[in-house]
Amino acid sequence: MTGALRIEGLEKSFVLHTQGGVHLPVLAGLDLEVEPGECVALHGPSGVGKSTVLRCVHGNYRADAGRILVRHREGIVNMVTAHPREILAVRRETVGHVSQFLRVIPRVSAADVVAETLRDRGADRESAADAARIILHRLNIPAELQQLAPATFSGGEKQRVNLARVLVARYPVLLLDEPTASLDRENREVVVDLIREAAGRGAAILGIFHDAAVRDAVATRVVAMDAGREAA
């Protein structure tokens, strides 16, 4: 494996026990490798399982079969079989995931949400707060908003906090799920810059970019997905 992330034969289906045991196959043998510095865009109609791929890589969904290999610390971790503690370590140090929605925590301010990423990685309170302030500022979250809990923020503001929360740390692997979906043009450009910078410093990026302009601006490769299979 030369990449930072390698997916082999990934299969994932859902069984809905509460709805009569309906079986929904989503992924049936996905193979993919992402090299450092690459930004791979997953492309396909909605419902084809693009987010499911990202969630499986992040360990949020359990794969049914296949391997998801992540270069972590000095070795390689298979996220499909890794122990929960290992997955947590990978999430803390190696794989950053910008989900579509920010899960807000009551009372915790936007600045603290962002700083927490660095604090979890061992940064001291002050430097974490400084870094949080800088990235939030760059994403056009004004200082007075930074001290508020994001529960009352608009969709776009929440999404930018969500981006800041991940981009504040230099993760070797980034998973971006529609990072610009509810952003205006100005902020979209900031995000594009940030993604390019991340790729420039060697991050392996796997993303879903609905907006064709953004996709064209950041993706170094596009992987088309169709009915659970990718086609180059």
Partner: protein, 260 residues
């Protein structure tokens, strides 16, 4: 840390019957230092039985609970002598009850409630005990001016925070919590959760949190144990279990939650 390589507490094959009634059966799991484990399930699923067994408050009918002590390494907490067990319980462990009245001395002041564990392990300097108690009142976001007031003059949320301070004052390594936010209204609950979250991560505490509230467990716990009819039906990372539940019962549980 070297001790990071082995679990702080391990349960193996925990089984408990109340007469002929099953409390829990064949429950096994590990908790590592600094890790928060949530145990969820409906009333009567056996989650509180498990909590009592692993915190030495209830003897299991079968199975073992191993705890990695600071001085003697791993010991079976149900086999170790009573003095050592009780010493563990009031120094290295904390227990936060759902009803603060079960965990507080209601007839003595807030300061004495916090200071008790210190005095129990030999603190004999009034000024220092009081200083420590004051600092803990601050850490749990209570007005230090209420130091000499009796707990019954406090609101439910304040009593719960006092109970937490009382437990954490001896710097325990693991805290057992039984529905810590159970009796509180929603806004108070949120504040307490936030406080607990901060304390657990700042102090590197391990914790076991029993709750029927999935939102509580999503905020607090790293890993989750889903129990039903006395057995564990599913286990995994909290977000994994809640976002991609596998077992029919877990799916039912997750789909039954109301999202305002």
């Amino acid at each position: 840390m070297a001790c990071d390589d082995r679990p702080l507490l391990s349960a193996r094959g925990l089984t408990r019957y109340y007469g002929r009634i099953l409390g829990c059966r064949d429950v096994s799991f590990d908790i590592w230092p600094g890790e928060v484990l949530g145990i969820v399930g409906e009333s009567g699923s056996g989650k509180t039985t498990v909590l009592k067994c692993i915190s030495a408050r209830l003897e299991p009918s079968a199975g073992t609970v191993t705890y990695d002590t600071r001085t003697d390494g791993p010991v079976d907490i149900h086999r170790v002598s009573e003095p050592s067990r009780r010493l563990l319980m009031r120094t290295d462990w904390g227990f936060v009850h759902q009803d603060p009245r079960d965990g507080l001395r209601m007839a003595v002041s807030a300061g004495a409630n916090i200071g008790e564990r210190l005095m129990a392990v030999g603190a004999r300097h009034y000024g220092q005990i009081r200083e420590t108690a004051t600092s803990w009142l601050g850490k749990v976001e209570m007005d230090t001016g209420r130091m000499d007031d009796l707990p019954r003059t406090f609101s439910g949320g304040m009593q719960q925070r006092l109970q937490i301070a009382r437990n954490l004052v001896t710097a325990p390594r693991i805290v057992f919590m039984d529905e810590p936010t159970g009796g509180l209204d929603v806004s108070v609950q949120a504040r307490l959760l936030d406080l607990l979250r901060g304390l657990v991560s700042d102090l590197g505490l391990a914790a076991v949190v029993v709750t029927h509230d999935l939102a509580v467990t999503r905020l607090l716990s790293h890993r989750l144990l889903v129990m039903r009819h006395g057995t564990v039906v599913e286990t995994g990372l909290t977000d994994q279990v809640l976002d991609d539940p596998q077992h029919p019962y877990t799916q039912l549980l997750v789909s039954s939650v109301l999202h305002p």
